[in-house]
């Protein structure tokens, strides 16, 4: 079960909302945990068992690290052992290189703990925090378990710091207005996923079905741009859905995307893309490495390497790593060569092109394929466009325009920055109608399959 499914929206969500609000405030944490466990079990009791063992292991490790904090060596060994276990779990499930281990443990082929890349970040973060003393280990298992398996953020949700999560848990704002805001957020994410991401993915699949040695320039660009946008709308759609559901239960989860696609420069793009995940990598990987030395070259290398690591975290293959490295190099180059902070059109253009190049590596089945693909994009196949590319352009032009328009911040600007108070008021007043219409439209679009499950990457 994922958020963008009829089962979740029309059965699990209302049921859980009811269960939550009829529970006395004191027991609401337990209700949320039970609901999260049901959510896991709907994806398979195997998944629930996995999550329970995983959570218990991390809880025990945090407890021991906290307990032996004075005995540094002991605490470090426990932390490293737990980290190794957590990280090996991600590797075993996400990389096909370890398929033999899955067979050895007789794990069924189709079993995949969805969201493992995200909750591992959470688990690793809290281990490090307890070890460094930034967070005191809390003996309350319910809070800890909720932190790992809280269902509104289990699937491609937002990685949060434990301290932040705990604060939210103890200062929930609940009420009708929050439910309204939450549902609005949710519907926004749902629309991003179902209207934009899925259609763009269809365009991407159609584009790349053309033989790479004959791909015209237009088809290659359509493929790469649609993948980039589809990837953005999938991730930000799930983030919005996740934040929306959380809000209905009183959790105010911070923003994860802030209109990154048409940023003025690469740095700006980075600061707006997958904000919470990037912050995690900055906090737990880059910062400690930066603190080792002040040499600029060293810092640049660290930046590029962390870029590669983030790319690897997305795809678990060479393509993603290359994508991250290119991104890291672009940021570094920008700090050396481009001093002008207010590059408007040209800045947006080169940032977009770099993003597209990175996408080609992220999406490609192999690096060799990606290089051929880039070659096709610059006209290496000596065909600008053929009937096929024109057909695809014609079929998807509207979706592309709407997606680009919403991915850029124009629409938000109308609402937020509009000086005309009247426009703002009209939009606000109409929002309930817009929300319910969008909800019905998206429901119609998934009515055939019952859910929209394409995630692009198995994260």
């Amino acid at each position: 079960m994922i958020y963008s499914s009829l089962l979740f929206i029309y059965v699990f969500f209302p049921f859980s909302l009811l269960a939550y609000y009829v529970t006395p405030a004191k027991y609401r944490d337990v209700t949320l945990l039970v609901l999260s466990m049901i959510f896991c079990a709907m994806n398979g009791v195997g998944f629930l068992i996995f999550m329970t063992v995983y959570t218990a292991m991390n809880f025990a490790a945090c407890h021991l690290v906290g307990k032996y904090r004075k005995n540094k060596g002991m605490a470090r060994s426990i932390m490293i052992l737990a980290l190794v276990l957590d990280i090996s779990a991600v590797f075993v499930f996400r990389s096909d290189f370890f398929i033999a281990y899955r067979e050895l443990l007789s794990i069924p082929e189709e079993f995949f703990p969805v969201g493992i890349s995200f909750f591992t970040l959470s688990a690793a973060g809290i281990l490090a925090d307890v070890y460094t003393g930034k967070t005191k280990h809390n003996r309350n298992f319910v809070t800890f378990a909720l932190y790992i398996i809280f269902f509104p953020r289990l699937i491609i949700g937002t990685p949060l710091r434990y301290s932040g999560f705990r604060r939210m848990l103890h200062s929930q704002h609940t009420g009708l207005a929050d439910i309204g805001t939450g549902i609005t957020f949710f519907v926004k994410g749902f629309a991003k996923k179902v209207i934009a991401a899925d259609s763009l993915y269809a365009l991407y699949s159609a584009s790349v079905s053309v033989d790479i040695g004959e791909m015209p320039v237009l088809t290659a660009w359509l493929g790469a741009v649609s993948y980039l946008l589809s990837f953005y709308f999938t991730l930000s759609g799930f983030s919005d859905m996740s934040a929306g559901i959380s809000r209905c239960f009183g959790f105010r989860i911070p923003k994860n995307f802030n209109y990154p696609i048409f940023s003025q420069n690469v740095r700006c793009f980075t600061a707006r893309w997958h904000i919470q995940a990037s912050q995690w990598f900055r906090q737990y990987i880059a910062k400690p490495l930066y603190s080792i030395s002040d040499i600029r070259l060293y810092k640049d290398i660290v930046l590029i390497a962390v870029g590669g690591l983030i790319g690897f975290w997305y795809t678990f293959d060479a393509g993603g790593t290359i994508c991250g490295i290119i991104w890291g190099i672009a940021i570094t180059a920008e700090t050396y060569f481009i001093k002008d902070k207010h590059l408007q059109a040209t800045g947006r253009l080169y940032t977009f092109i770099i993003a597209v190049i990175c996408t080609v590596f992220m999406a490609g089945e192999s690096s060799a394929y990606s290089i051929k693909y880039l070659f096709a994009m610059i006209g290496g196949n000596r065909v600008l466009a053929d009937s096929q590319s024109l057909y695809l352009l014609k079929s998807y032009v509207l979706i592309l325009i709407v997606s680009i328009y919403t991915a850029a911040s124009f629409f938000r600007n109308i609402i937020v920055r509009s000086r005309m108070k009247k426009v703002q008021n009209i939009i606000t007043a109409l929002s309930p109608v817009i929300v319910i219409s969008m909800m019905i439209l998206c429901t119609v679009l998934i009515s055939y399959r019952g859910s929209s499950e394409i995630l692009l990457l198995k994260m």
């Binding site: 089962l7 029309y10 259609s199 929300v435």
Partner: protein, 383 residues
């Protein structure tokens, strides 16, 4: 103001969601089935199903089928999608004239299935014939956008025929149908062929089997239904394409059917009919041909030649088999799709001088369909 609007949103949405939930559980199910791999109820609630999440999938599918006004929603979905993106809706290519399946498989399992069929036939002494019938997307693939025209069904049929043993006689249906594609040989709303399409191929098949075909003008054709909407319609509810006609070909002066007996998996017999018109009222009108879906159907005719034929088939054969009844005194039909256990449980292949395989080429994409033909054979050998 914002706060008030949010509260209004919450109230409206909660009422809407609860109303939908109410109709899911207490409303009348639209009964529109889920297309593709359905999760089996028994498997879903078995221990492994509960462990690996199949039961969650099953519940999700149930919610989808019971969703209020699902057919109208799919119909609106088709309209929106074909207006704003390609003419592909839920894997179906929507053309003004007809609907075509656009979910092109990778054809990955063809050679494995060919190998299974070869193994089965190597145990058998009579003559084996194989007819692989293209689906409508194979014959009308020129309607598709170019990128869907790779990996065609004609290529798949060729590769299947080249992998079948030499002593299996393959019969070309593709070129016959391709040549006649101006005629009403395929349903507009379904992947399968019409009775006329089947007749055109029958003429060739029956000659290979050693008979002369019955001439077209000897048949009286009854249009028993003119509102047939098939499996492609169920995925789109796109009603701009005309509904289909279902025909029955009768040969008044020809042989008659003495009996038509269906057997279930416990080999219990049921009397059936070559054309079960009562099924025209049911969901899939095509089921009328050969009646209820059974693993084994036995046909006995007034033909006095004591020739016996075994047909191993999928649903494509259902409207084809009536034409064969003019030539054999006994025809037994087995459908691997519905069989459980070995072929020997139902029939002894050695009793037939001829075996005809008749399958839609899309059946070759089914990974385990043909397993029933050989698994027990291997078990027997290992004993």
């Amino acid at each position: 103001m914002k706060n008030t609007v949010n509260k209004i949103t919450a109230v409206i949405m909660l009422i809407y969601i609860s109303a939908v939930m109410f109709f899911i559980f207490f409303g009348k199910s639209s009964g529109v089935p889920i297309y593709g791999d359905k999760t089996d109820k028994e498997k879903a609630f078995s221990l492994s199903g509960i462990m690996n999440g199949k039961f969650g999938k099953y519940i999700s599918e149930r919610i989808s089928t019971d969703f209020p006004a699902r057919n109208h929603m799919i119909s609106v979905d088709s309209g929106i999608r074909s207006a704003f993106t390609e003419n592909i809706v839920n894997g179906v290519y929507v053309d003004e004239k007809m609907l075509l399946n656009a979910e092109i498989s990778d054809r990955g399992t063809t050679s494995e299935n060919a190998a299974i069929i070869n193994r089965f036939c190597s145990e058998y002494d009579g003559t084996v014939y194989f007819t692989a019938v293209p689906t409508s997307s194979g014959v009308y693939d020129s309607y598709f956008p170019e990128y869907l025209r790779k990996n065609t069904e004609s290529m798949q049929i060729n590769s299947l025929y080249s992998e079948l043993d030499e002593n299996i006689r393959d019969i070309d249906a593709y070129n016959i149908l391709k040549m006649l594609n101006e005629n009403y040989i395929y349903y507009r709303n379904d992947t399968k062929w019409t009775s006329y399409g089947a007749y055109c191929v029958y003429r060739t098949v029956i000659q290979k089997l050693g008979f002369s075909p019955t001439a077209y003008d000897k048949y009286t054709i009854d249009h028993v239904a003119d509102d047939f909407r098939g499996n492609l319609y169920e995925r789109t509810f796109y009603s701009d394409v005309k509904p289909d006609i279902i025909d029955i070909y009768r040969y008044p002066d020809g042989a008659e059917i003495l009996s038509c007996t269906g057997c279930d998996n416990d080999l219990k017999s049921f009397s059936g009919e070559l054309y079960d018109k009562s099924l025209l009222e049911s969901g899939d009108m095509y089921d009328m041909y050969l009646g209820e879906k059974r693993p084994l159907v036995k046909l006995r005719t007034t033909v006095n030649n004591e020739r016996k034929l075994l047909v191993i088939k999928d649903s494509f054969a259902d409207c084809f088999i009536p034409f064969l009844t003019q030539h054999y005194s006994e025809i037994d039909v087995i459908a691997p799709e519905y069989m459980e256990g070995s072929v020997e449980k139902y029939v002894d292949p050695a009793n037939y001088e001829q075996i005809l395989f008749l399958f839609g080429i899309d059946s070759m994409d089914d990974e385990n369909l043909f397993d029933v033909l050989v698994t027990p054979l291997e078990e027997r050998k290992s004993e």
